[in-house]
């Protein structure tokens, strides 16, 4: 499982293309932004409180009680 995931990851990296600045119209679109921009952020914060896991590109992992 781990080996196949690593192989897929390496294959994706190997297939990367050079993209010129004038070709970035899709990549620069708001909906293509990485992470959880805009209204998505608060939902991620709730998940870190209501579930046992956190981190990995989501909301911050501490700094509040969340004990209600």
């Amino acid at each position: 499982m781990k080996c196949s995931l690593a192989a897929v990851f390496m294959a994706i990296l190997a297939s990367c293309q050079v993209v010129k600045p004038y070709q970035r119209i899709y990549l620069n679109d708001y909906e293509m932004r990485p992470g959880y921009p805009g209204a998505r952020g608060f939902e991620q914060y709730v998940f870190t409180i209501r579930e046992g896991s956190s981190g990995g590109g989501g909301a911050k992992t501490s700094g509040g009680c969340g004990c209600n």
């Binding site: 293309q17 990549l27 679109d29 293509m32 939902e43 896991s53």
Partner: protein, 392 residues
């Protein structure tokens, strides 16, 4: 003529790396309402109401002072109405029913000399009646020459104090235990420190696809138990929740964003999580923003989650009194959950003016957990841009 010649000479000798004045401020405002309900409150030992409402107001400012420096400031105010914390002292509608969380942060970011790398720092502060937290973050990012690969690293540190009484101005500062357990001093510590190392690789695959990989490492030490959580045992005795003094967490997340056709975007993410409390978790999320016009996008989304419970969790009155660590907090139990919802975004094209409305987002999410919890979140995000009047 001499002055003009001197000025021209100065310009010729300037380096390529110059600071240009273009001060603009990006303003983001979030208003959110959250409610949940279930009958597994940790305050009452894994049984009893978890009815909760939270009203969130948050303001974030990113001030691009010139072509080099960016200053970030944000502040927020949450009003929390919790039926479960009302049961700490069993006095219904007591002061613990309504709480407020106030938080703020201030950050600074600027590029290094080659302009391919950026460093930043951020200081944060958060306060609730039973919680006070100071945070400090340092970050570094680097983008390659072709601007197709970005590496980021950040170290976040939080220093928390779990004593109750922050809004009492008579100097009271103490851990608050359930009312019937206050004749024992359960903990001699009240601090919780967290250190998070978050790494990121954002790789452009082609003109329409990017991949992000986000490994992390977190270490927490101090009082990790919540002092007003009850635990009931099989012999009918009762104690305060007790968890280990340290916790290691290892998450790794990946996000693949693809622009399919002229109007459709697919955002897929997966995260694996492990910690030494015994929790392993898998999260899978899928969002499909559809641009129904140049200014409007609709985003249906779904999120699936499964976690293996912590070794220390057991339900109400199932713990053995011989156990060293114990909790009946269902957030640490084995469960699956699903969230689904819809987002709406309106972002009209506008010429830059002194104050430019950029976007409005409305997002609704419905969440269900296999232990019976149901929650709803409604969020409004408003974004505009404020800056100098552009030259004619």
């Amino acid at each position: 003529m001499i002055a003009t010649a001197y000025a021209s000479f100065g310009q010729l000798n300037k380096k390529n790396y110059t600071r240009k004045k273009l001060s603009r401020t990006d303003v983001g405002m979030v208003f959110s309402y959250y409610n949940q309900n279930n009958d597994h409150s940790a305050v009452t030992g894994g049984t009893g109401t978890e009815d909760l409402q939270v009203y969130v107001t948050h303001l974030a400012l990113d001030n691009v002072r010139d072509s080099v420096r960016t200053v970030h400031f944000d502040m927020g105010f949450d009003v929390i109405s919790s039926a479960s914390t009302d049961n700490i002292d069993f006095v219904v509608s007591s002061a613990s029913k309504v709480d407020a969380r106030v938080y703020t942060s201030l950050g600074y970011e600027r590029p290094l000399h080659d302009r391919k790398a950026t460093w930043g720092m951020n200081t944060s502060f958060s306060i609730e009646s039973d919680y006070l937290s100071w945070g400090q973050m340092f970050s570094l990012s680097h983008i390659n020459e072709a601007q197709t690969q970005e590496l980021t690293a950040s170290l976040q540190m939080y220093f928390d104090d779990l004593r109750w009484g922050r809004y009492q101005f008579d100097g009271t500062r103490e851990l608050v235990y359930p009312v019937e357990l206050r004749n024992t001093k359960w903990f001699d510590r009240y601090r919780r420190n967290s250190f998070n190392l978050a790494l990121g690789l954002l790789q452009t695959i082609n003109r329409r696809m990017s991949l992000g990989v986000y490994p992390g490492l977190t270490y927490q030490a101090g009082l990790l138990s919540t002092p007003f959580h009850r635990v009931y045992f099989i012999d009918d005795t009762e104690r305060v929740e007790n968890l280990p003094d340290s916790r290691w967490k290892i998450p790794i997340g990946a996000q693949l964003n693809s622009f399919l056709g002229p109007r459709w975007v697919l955002r897929a993410n997966y995260r694996f999580y492990w910690d030494d409390f015994g929790i392993t978790a898998h999260t899978f999320g899928l969002e499909a923003p559809v641009k129904v016009s140049r200014a409007i996008a609709l985003t249906p989304f779904v999120r699936l989650y499964h976690q293996r419970g912590a070794d220390y969790f057991k339900p109400y009155a199932k713990h053995s009194p011989l156990q060293e660590f114990y909790t009946s907090d269902y957030d640490l139990s084995k469960f699956s959950s699903g969230a689904t919802g819809l987002g709406f975004r309106y972002a009209p094209y506008a010429h830059k003016r002194r104050s430019t409305f950029k976007a409005l987002e409305l997002r609704y999410s419905h969440y269900e957990r296999s232990d019976g919890m149901v929650a709803n979140t409604l969020t409004l995000f408003v974004n505009y841009d404020k800056g100098q009047k552009p030259p004619p």
